[in-house]
């Protein structure tokens, strides 16, 4: 039944579906997991690192990209589509600075990216972008933000979210374990992101890449040793929690 309505992007099916957009969301699920957490003073993006081919330079396989000094994003889905979106967003950030003499707000650049994506769902001869993105950063008034966009061009603000392959599992974990009071501490915010990723990433900390941004600082990508420190701390806490459970 759906076959004749899913070829052209600009055609609705009788029950109101835009199948190409929905299929684009399936393409997102083929990308590896990315998780974002918004703390009070820090914003965190964690991604599952892809295994690269032996001769491939893994610096060129980046899932986390800085858009400006105060905003960065992670994506899941088609690599090439993401490159186009990131490039356009970066240009827009600088254009905004030149025109308005202020850095973009996180919401502004998210709305810009979403508008591009929506435009591609409404013109014929084009297909939707096959990526979802998590955009984090601080506005110039110091408020932290986390937004998620998807191929249809919608965007929403989140306290914590995940996209990509096992997004559902990670989101459920975040819903269970997100505590407002923990978000005051930078360490706890970072630990929540790492714990969420460890739920779905195989072979632990060495397949995780993490980027954080503290208020009035630029984006920092954690080195492997720092991630291992957090992972060790998390495993210790887990063991102690198990011991406590056994005692009671």
């Amino acid at each position: 039944m759906s076959m004749s309505y899913d070829r052209a992007i600009t055609v609705f099916s009788p029950d109101g579906h835009l199948f190409q957009v929905e299929y684009a969301q399936e393409a997102v699920k083929k990308g590896s997991t990315a998780v974002g957490v918004r703390g009070k003073n820090v914003v965190v993006l964690g991604v599952e690192k892809k295994t690269v081919a032996k001769l491939q330079d893994d610096r060129t396989v980046r899932k986390i990209c800085a858009l400006d000094d105060n905003v960065f994003m992670a994506f899941a889905g088609l690599t090439a589509d993401a490159r186009i979106v990131v490039n356009r967003a970066r240009v827009e950030c600088q254009s905004h600075r030149l025109t308005v003499e202020d850095p973009v707000t996180v919401e502004y650049i998210t709305r810009f990216i979403s508008s591009i994506k929506q435009r591609y769902t409404q013109s014929s001869g084009r297909r939707p972008f096959g990526i979802s993105s998590l955009i984090v950063g601080f506005d110039f008034d110091g408020t932290p933000h986390l937004y998620q966009t998807d191929p249809s061009g919608t965007y929403h603000a989140w306290k914590a979210n995940a996209i990509g392959r096992s997004a559902k599992t990670v989101r459920e974990f975040l819903e269970k374990n997100y505590k407002e009071e923990h978000m005051e501490s930078d360490t706890d915010t970072i630990k929540l992101a790492i714990r969420a990723l460890l739920e779905v990433v195989q072979s632990g900390g060495k397949n995780i890449e993490l980027a954080i941004m503290k208020r009035d600082e630029s984006m920092k990508i954690l080195v492997q040793e720092e991630i291992e420190e957090y992972v060790t701390a998390i495993e210790k806490e887990k063991e102690e929690a198990e011991k406590q459970k056994k005692k009671t």
């Binding site: 393409a27 699920k29 083929k30 990308g31 590896s32 892809k50 295994t51 081919a53 396989v61 899932k63 994506f75 899941a76 889905g77 088609l78 690599t79 090439a80 993401a82 392959r165 096992s166 559902k168 599992t169």
Partner: protein, 285 residues
Amino acid sequence: MATFFGEVLSVYSRAVEEDDDDLDDENEDERIHREIEEKREVHIVWCPEVAQSLEDSGSNTLQCSDLIIAVGTNAAGFLSAYVLNTESWDAVGHVSLWNERSRGSSRQSIAPLPGEPACLFYRHRDNPAVLVCQSTCYIAEDQLFQWTEKVLGCLQKRGLSVMVLSDSPVAEYKTPDYLYGSAVPFLRSLKSSASKGQALCPALEQPNILTGLPAAVLSHCQVHQIPAVLYQCYTDVISPDSITMETYKPALLCLSKLVKLEPCLSADVLRKFAIITEAQSNLYT
């Protein structure tokens, strides 16, 4: 023929009356049909021992208690990794056929090279009544009946039991509910009515159907009342993939009753059979 002005014209008949030409044409058509039929014929090439056993049995059939057929690269990879990885299996034959997608007949008597799409038979050394067939080449619709008749015709029907493992893209699975990513890949089963015993996974729901070689084999078994069970794995990956291969693991329960299997499998062995194609790994991040 009468014209408007009342004159009568004699008309030449347009029917061709030269019988010789007709005959030639028919012969040529027949010749072409015959050539195409010969070209598309399905040949089974057995190794000398099996060919000898076939001759020695009066009915040109082999004694076989269990036939396991794997259709598709993931099913074949699963058998290679979990069953055929011990030294006790001998390659005993292959099927040679030609169609637009499988051009095998240029080397009919030579066995296909490893890695090439092919249809291979293996027999267990300690239990020669167990036969495994890995089919990774495309068999055209007009050749399916021939394939099934020739292969299953070589085996004695009495005591025969068939298991088919087959791959299918999940895009062809019809269901009213939305399939979450974690559910894929998954197994569904179908049995012939002669098959007693529980299948190891839910039955294939309507309106899903089987096509191709698995359908031909199962239909043959149903008609000839051979107990047969089929496990269809729906997966969203095009190339051979270790997670899809692991989905067939429930079938190991039946297989371990027949032959000794390796108890545990290293990841390296699995990775050998799973190909991560370059395009796939760089397309999505």
